[in-house]
Amino acid sequence: MPLNVDMRKTLESAERRFTLEVAFNASTQRVVLFGPSGAGKSLTLQAIAGLLRPDEGTIALHGQALFDSSRGIDLKPQARHVAYLFQDYALFPHLNVRQNIGFGLQRGWLNPRARNRVAEVDYWLDALELRSVAGHYPAQLSGGQKQRVALARALVARPQLLLLDEPFSALDSHLRQRMRQELSELQTRLDIPMVLITHDPDDVAAFGDQVVQISDGRVREHQAFSGYVRSET
């Protein structure tokens, strides 16, 4: 995957000053940013998505600059076609499953209607076994269902890149195993490039074709993990 990141961002608050200085070139379809919490992984992901503006540097995807401080390029998140799976899923509580998935497909000032049928939405309802809860609201869903809805919502618009922020941390260990497998199969089937951040070594084993280790705002180690087999368990 041709994702090139080379950026710097300094965040200052009354208590502390944090400098994020991250550079890596992703060469595989599955990249894991690995490191302890507070290392700056989420900030890196937000910068790729356009939710955080770096002070300087470049971020390019498939050769297209998403951000380039020297050329004054800073694409809005809306224009980047990068999907983001949030740690707590960030499902819209006032919309049902069908509306949540179809959210990005509908333009204009109105949300999709509760019973509005869109072929792409139906496809994802079936693909992720959400058909039976299509009319439910996020508060009525289990953890695994919430994650599937968030995945469907992120993928339905056919993004160029999928970003996942600690996708399994909110799940119990049994479900975590299963969702890892589902995500792995889905990624293989869609052949979509993804960047996953985690502090869980099991995630690294499952998705770390390439691992970028980050701690204290810096890249510590950056290598292609040839030794790991693409885990399907």
């Binding site: 937000q46 998505a49 356009g50 939710l51 809005k76 998140p77 809306q78 224009a79 980047r80 076609h81 990068v82 999907a83 983001y84 949030f86 707590d88 960030a90 819209f92 509580p93 006032h94 959210f103 990005g104 333009r107 204009g108 000032w109 109105l110 949300n111 919502r153 992120a154 618009a157």
Partner: protein, 224 residues
């Protein structure tokens, strides 16, 4: 007794317009304040909240100075043949200003309570900033805003001081419910006064019950 319905209808009309205007301006100001990152924010918030703490007669005097024929805004409006003093539209302006902070405060609190993560999620899904407001922020803040709107309606319905200053006490034209109560008592017309007082009390109780059902008590206290 037949006449008692006229001030009630006028009050409902004035309060309705005042609430509608505040749902536009109060919500816009509340949203602006909730997203504005600046030290001046608290100062602006305090200035906009002034109508809540100032005596209504003082507000009415300010409005009279501004909107009267020789006032800055009044003189300008006069060129278009618009007069606000001694009209029911003037009463709408008075009620709108007095009730404005109630909508502003609850709207600001409601917008600040919306999870920023949801707005980020909407951005990554390709939604424009305007669509984001109407499709995520506003629906999630709607209950708090509606509660503020009901309080504003109740406050506008009971408006006396500022309304009397700018719209006066013209029966059938600018005499609202609360002004009519005052007039009836002054004239010793007890039966009309009793009737008006009961109508006002019942209306206010209904509104408070509705507001209480819309939001938890905590939010109502914030907006006070």
């Amino acid at each position: 007794m037949q006449d008692a319905w006229i001030p009630l209808m006028l009050s409902l009309k004035v309060a309705g317009w005042a609430t509608a205007l505040n749902l536009v301006f109060g919500v816009a100001a509340g949203f602006g304040l909730s997203r504005w990152r600046s030290g001046a924010r608290d100062v602006v918030d305090s200035l906009l909240t002034l109508p809540l703490v100032m005596p209504p007669t003082v507000l009415g005097y300010y409005l009279l100075v501004l909107l009267g024929r020789r006032g800055v805004i009044g003189a300008w409006l006069d060129r278009f043949d618009i007069q606000l003093v001694f009209t029911w539209q003037g009463a709408v302006v008075a009620s709108t200003v007095v009730a404005f902070p109630l909508v502003l405060k609850s709207a600001r609190a409601a917008f600040e309570a919306v999870d920023p993560q949801l707005e980020r999620a909407a951005r990554t899904l390709g939604i424009s900033e305007t669509a984001l407001f109407f499709r995520v922020s506003l629906p999630l803040a709607a209950r708090g805003i509606l509660a503020g709107g009901l309080l504003a309606f109740a406050r506008a319905l009971g408006e006396f001081g500022a309304t009397l200053m700018i719209a006066g006490n013209l029966p059938g034209r600018t005499q609202t419910l609360s002004v009519a109560v005052y007039s009836a008592v002054q004239a010793g017309d007890d039966s009309t006064a009793n009737f008006l007082v009961i109508v006002t009390s019942v209306t206010c109780v209904v509104i408070l019950l509705l507001a209480g059902r819309l939001v938890p008590q905590r939010t109502l206290l914030v907006s006070r």
